[in-house]
């Protein structure tokens, strides 16, 4: 079977997800899977093991006792290894500190890696603006694909307007 993404290499990563009863299957080669952020094989030769270790288990490197660089939150001192053991963060800054490593974990828990709900008003404006721009860009792409160029031009102008506002810090949207 060929990789669904590149259609060139053999698919070696087979991913089945059932979230809210919705069943999806993906067949990817190692490289495309890595690019999509589904699994990170770069430092990790034990890919099968990393798939099998439980949801919150530390990655195989730490299990093997090699921790090349100790990953730790500077604010509260919690290490990534400790996080893996107790399954709890130490403070809000841990999310930043552990960075991309959280992506597969949270995807496996929630089936998503992007918050779409409400936000504190003080975070407001800027975030909302950026999200609006994202949505408009997707809309623009759809319109172009459907060859609805007049509508697409309108959306493009909207994006420009919002982007200029975003560089002003998004304050006007509050």
């Amino acid at each position: 079977m060929l990789c669904q993404e590149c259609q060139k290499r053999v698919a070696t990563v087979h991913l089945t997800r059932i979230i809210n009863g919705e069943y999806t299957e993906q067949h990817l080669c190692e490289q495309c899977a890595k690019n999509k952020g589904e699994f990170d094989f770069s430092h990790n030769p034990f890919s099968l093991q990393s798939l099998l270790t439980g949801l919150m288990n530390v990655d195989s490197q730490t299990l093997m006792g090699f921790t090349p660089k100790k990953l730790q939150c500077n604010n509260c001192g919690l290490t990534y290894a400790q996080f893996g053991q107790i399954g709890r963060f130490g403070c809000s800054e841990c999310y930043q500190a552990f960075g991309e490593r959280l992506v597969p974990i949270l995807r496996r828990i929630h089936g998503s890696t992007q918050h779409v709900g409400s936000e504190p008003r003080r975070a407001g404006g800027a975030v909302k603006l950026r999200r609006n721009i994202e949505e408009l860009k997707q809309q623009l792409q759809r319109l172009v694909e459907e060859e609805k160029f007049e509508q697409a031009a309108v959306v493009r102008d909207q994006i420009k307007k919002l982007e200029s506002r975003a560089t002003d810090g998004g304050k006007k949207d509050v």
């Binding site: 999310y95 918050h115 709900g117 409400s118």
Partner: protein
Amino acid sequence: MFNGKKVKTSKWMSSAGPDGEIVLSSRIRLARNIKGLPFPYLASDSQTEEVKKQVYAIYQDKALSQQFGNMSFLSMHKLSPLERQVLVEKHLISPMLVKENHNAAVLLSDDEAVSIMINEEDHIRIQCLLPGLQLEQALAEANRYDELLEEKLDYAYDERWGYLTVCPTNVGTGLRASVMVHLPALSITKQINRVLSAIAQVGLAVRGLYGEGSEITGNLVQISNQITLGQSEEEIVKNLFGVTRQIVEQEAQARQVLLNEGRDRIADRVNRAFGVLTHAWLLSSQEAMQLLSEVHLGIDLGLIKEIKGEVIKELMVLQRPANLQLMAGQSLDAFERDRIRARLFRERLAQ
């Protein structure tokens, strides 16, 4: 015999609410944390005290009482173990809040519909508990408090991950929505396991009444969302509402079947339960819950007319150990509790 304190009736126990024959209560919980401060389990005493102080300052601010009326600020360490347990049994605070640390506290609204837990698993947990199926209303109410708090507190929030929480299973909206449903007819007709496993398959969690791992007592089941990231608050609530409505339909159908196919049999069953409840001399909590469940069903089906469903709902809480002891004004061993419990039912259900 009951010369201790009177237990205040919380809002969720005081009336039935929409779909109240089957849905006993709806709950919304928002998990919030303060940016940069270590989470309660890691924090020093002075750090948890800092959280408590910040919320206390909001409590003392006029804006709070102007908008929400009187609230009480209860420090856990100032309450007796019994008083704390009463709050747990009324579902106003979590068992965890009692265990955590001595800077744990709760800010409680006058009608006991809203409780803001401080230094629980997360720094702040806003809960709104309403009677019947009222998830949207509970969310709106919780949001009002959340908005007031966020004006004063520096919430930990990330554009990508949403509200940052102690446990990765809460991150995003920090929202746990749940309903407590009473499913005696599905249980009697032996359909309950089929229904519950179907619920689990649509990504919702199912639990017995008193939290994780406990067995289903009194045919009460709690259903809640599991996913908190990648769905908006409205979607989460809508999804749970939809599933709950379906369960209500199923239970209602099962009740109709019981009436159509064996009215006398079910009338006999619920009235026997009523008889035991009003005449027994010793009742364990487990037995009492089963009897209360059957009597509630009898009331819903119009087979018991002397009392209202809300009375039974309140008794489900009052019959629990801490509530009994608070009312009795003394600590009681298991045997004494069984005796007092039976007496409570005889008195409350007599008339």
